[in-house]
Symmetry: C2
Subunit: 292 residues, 2 copies
């Protein structure tokens, strides 16, 4: 609720009060998690790095065999949703599912996708205030392994999110807020909703693509680091190297760049590299979204 | 539609026309595929092996950290659904999701589940007619690997079904109707919606638990085979052994026991063991559901 007004979502072309926004129980997004999504931040009324999110949404749909499922007017739907809710600082989620099809698992080539634009108010943080997170992250290594690329394409961001949910369930009763999963070989992969970075010998390191989601914030952070003259390496790393690192942080669209206070029993924390990257990220947001 | 009447589903305690049956777009079943389900057959007005399906549904919910999500009156809801639709030969699906929770990935311990009972008419086949499938299965080995147990518990039947969908998508343009997935080590695992069996040297063999869904029809078939004095072995097998087998078949609740006509280029087919098991399965259905 914003000042007594109900948030409206955009469902299949129509704005509708959040509490009334529904999909068919036969929607394949519900029956099978057969859909793609993106989570974005809106700063100053602009969807930050939307071109990149839209491209990844298309790639996910391609991976799901429904290359043309993202509607051509998706940008208009997003604009309408933000305008209707009067939101300029917001969380935004776009979901595109395979919609309702006859009751067989094998997808039909003709797709009438279900498209949902979700929004909610989310204050900026960053240079203009406090970050969206309350404190640096407390991270635990969990037993749940990251689903391998050979089973579900690592680059696809889909409604099949139980892997991350099971990872987070392992945190019950533990004072932690992110779960670090390893790949099936035991190398560090990613958090349930975040990519992980660490600083060792002055270089920035992060698990390589193929075993992690190609996070938009991950990619942006790598570019900012390279532009700042830092050495950036991607590879496969034991969790112990992150524990022993000089600095470590998580990235995702909502958190932006969030230092890791501890990983298991080991205190890690941010530092000068993390701080410089956070400042560079804030400047990028400022330049792109506030014309500053 | 049955004689002009619309099928009704049972959604959160209410019977509702299929076309009007919806869930919130904020339901975690939709956002994340965060739910459990079962597919059953109804013969003669009785849900075949419902006790086993209900037990597995509970085990899946336990694996998802919502042990008590299956409502106590689930049997009544199913009975009401069958009665309202006047169906005695039917397909039945029961879904239990984590419902709507505040917008975080980490599940809240308090669960108000969403419970959907789906039905549709499905004639019996078996001893009383033709099987539900038109012909023995044409199976292709696919590249998509079965999600390992370490990433998602193999015993859990969840709304995260993209693994099987991606496997089926590989069949596009190929004249096949089931996709055989291997595990990450390259051993035969299971079909997108079926378990696989083969007969070699007179013994019945099937991939072991841990890399396959513990199918109710798989379990029943093993019991029937043992009761008939057959040697049954579970293990890890190369796909080539199935290609070279004397007989091979698939099992699932809808298909029951379905011979494999071919696997890739190799013709396999049913035979005396498959035939005897199919007859025993039909007799079990007869005894349990028709009091015959």
């Amino acid at each position: 609720m914003r000042g007594g007004l109900t948030i409206q979502y955009h469902v299949d072309g129509e704005l509708i009060d959040r509490g009334e926004a529904t999909v068919s129980v036969d929607d394949r997004g519900f029956r099978y998690g057969d859909g793609a999504f993106e989570t974005c931040r809106v700063y100053g009324g602009r969807v930050f790095l939307w071109d990149r999110h839209r491209s990844r949404l298309r790639r996910t749909c391609e991976a799901l065999g429904m290359a043309d499922a993202v509607p051509e007017d998706i940008d208009d739907r997003i604009d309408e949703t933000l305008a209707a809710n009067g939101l300029s600082e917001a969380y935004l989620r776009v979901s595109v599912t395979r919609g309702v099809q006859p009751g067989k698992l094998t997808p039909d080539e003709r797709v009438d996708p279900t498209v949902v634009v979700y929004v909610d108010s989310l204050q900026r943080g960053g240079t203009a205030g406090d970050p969206v997170w309350d404190a640096p992250a407390a991270v635990e290594r969990v037993r749940t392994r990251r689903v391998p690329d050979a089973a579900l394409p690592a680059g696809a961001k889909t409604h099949n999110y139980l892997n991350g949910i099971l990872a987070r369930l392992e945190l019950r009763g533990r004072d932690a807020d992110e779960a670090l999963m390893c790949d099936t070989d035991g190398c560090a992969a990613e958090g349930a909703t975040s990519n992980v970075f660490f600083v060792e010998d002055g270089a920035l390191r992060t698990p390589e693509l193929g075993s992690v989601l190609p996070g938009i914030t991950r990619e942006t952070t790598i570019e900012l680091a390279e532009r700042a003259g830092l050495t950036v390496e991607t590879g496969r790393y034991a969790v112990e190297r992150i524990c022993d690192a000089d600095e470590a942080f998580l990235t995702n669209t909502t958190w932006e760049i969030r230092p890791i206070a501890r990983l298991g029993e080991r205190e890690v924390g941010g530092g000068p590299v993390t701080g410089a990257l956070r400042a560079a990220y804030d400047e990028l947001v400022e330049r792109r979204c506030y014309g500053g």
